[in-house]
Symmetry: C2
Subunit: 204 residues, 2 copies
DNA sequence: ACCCTCTCAGACAGGTCTGTCTATCCTAAT
DNA sequence: ATTAGGATAGACAGACCTGTCTGAGAGGGT
């Protein structure tokens, strides 16, 4: 056992962990500052020093989840080879997520539902959504589909529906359903004209 | 001009209208009682006489929207004949809904995101969702599909994704996208074994 | 005329919320 | 040993929240 630090996490980290637990569990409007600092065992001044105000803490909480989700998806995608498999693999990652015992819907959907669309929180939500959509569009491009943006929009629509069904109907199979539909979407999507990397090598 | 009443709506009705406007616009937790009674021009006692407490008002607001949505969908479906057309027509109705200038996402998704899953509000949400799913399953049965419940689950997944995209990405074409996918889902869905209403009139 | 129901206006209690501020303590680097 | 930075505990202000209560007005039906 070499020098495992085991130091008490910083006030900032404990705040973020508590924010994640309470905001995600009960909603960002419902949970007050006092609940969070008590749960974190931290002084109120530490919160305002680290995050400025409550909105700052909410944004940090969403950034934290954004990174966590990106990591999970990225890691899952290494299991697959072709762009098509990777696109479908996104739903596999989602399936693992919604199977968690403490799953309570999409943090971004729920936070967004509680605040005006143009707040700082809304910007974090936008970041998350555009990252995912760009990933999908990139994979669709690599996969040679004719309309990568259209594919991305369709797949994100499916991806968006899953947390709703998983949370509101307590249906842990939603991701599997979405994956099956996504498979059909990809199967019927037209491919782009063959690559023209060799300029106009017109065969006929 | 025959006796057009034009009486001032009752306090209850004005409260419900204000609740609809403010709760839907800003969220059920964000908007306080005081804002509502001021907007409605109504005494606080009238609210507590009519609805008991705030949760009662929120539930009434959700019931109001539930009925409105049921009416709109039901009315839209009269335009179509076959079960398949009716199933797709649900997305046409949704398309009209999300095109409204003041559209702000699905009231049920947003309310549910702000409260614990097992509150009275959660029950209203369940009512709405199971009504829609039953409608879809009934139409799928009439349409002769082999797995009506599976169809309903798939179509509701699509239906759930639309408000998310429409609100968070300000994408008013989401319903059209969903409709197109739904069409593919129905096209590839297996039909049930031919009806046996006439006992075994085996043609061959 | 009388009553009854609905309604209004607003004070009030008791609690919670965010955010600021003071004052103290601990630790680690200089 | 001293000092600076981070952390803690907690009081405090000012606003807002839900829900109750009192007291009064208005209108219709009998």
């Amino acid at each position: 056992m070499v020098a495992k630090p085991m130091v008490k996490p910083s006030a900032r980290d404990r705040l973020l962990a508590s924010a994640n637990e309470l905001f995600y569990g009960e909603g960002v409007q419902t949970v007050g500052i006092d609940r969070i600092i008590e749960h974190a065992g931290v002084a109120k001044a530490s919160l305002y020093n680290s995050f400025g105000n409550k909105e700052g803490l909410v944004c940090a909480y969403l950034r934290f989840r954004n990174e966590r989700t990106r990591d999970r998806i990225t890691r899952t995608l290494t299991r697959f080879r072709t762009p098509r498999e990777k696109l479908l693999g996104i739903f596999d990652a989602q399936g693992e997520t919604i199977a968690a015992a403490d799953y309570n819907g999409c943090a971004f959907q729920r936070a967004s539902a509680e605040v005006p669309n143009d707040s700082g929180i809304g910007r974090e939500v936008d970041n998350y959504r555009s990252w995912l959509r760009d990933l999908m569009a990139r994979l669709a491009t690599e996969g040679g589909y004719a309309d990568p943006d259209g594919i991305a929009r369709q797949l994100q629509l499916l991806y968006d529906g899953v947390p709703v069904a998983a949370r509101m109907d307590r249906d842990p199979t939603a991701a599997t359903t979405a994956r099956a539909i996504a498979e059909a979407v990809l199967a019927s999507a037209p491919l782009a004209a063959p690559a023209q990397s060799e300029p106009a090598a017109v065969l006929a």
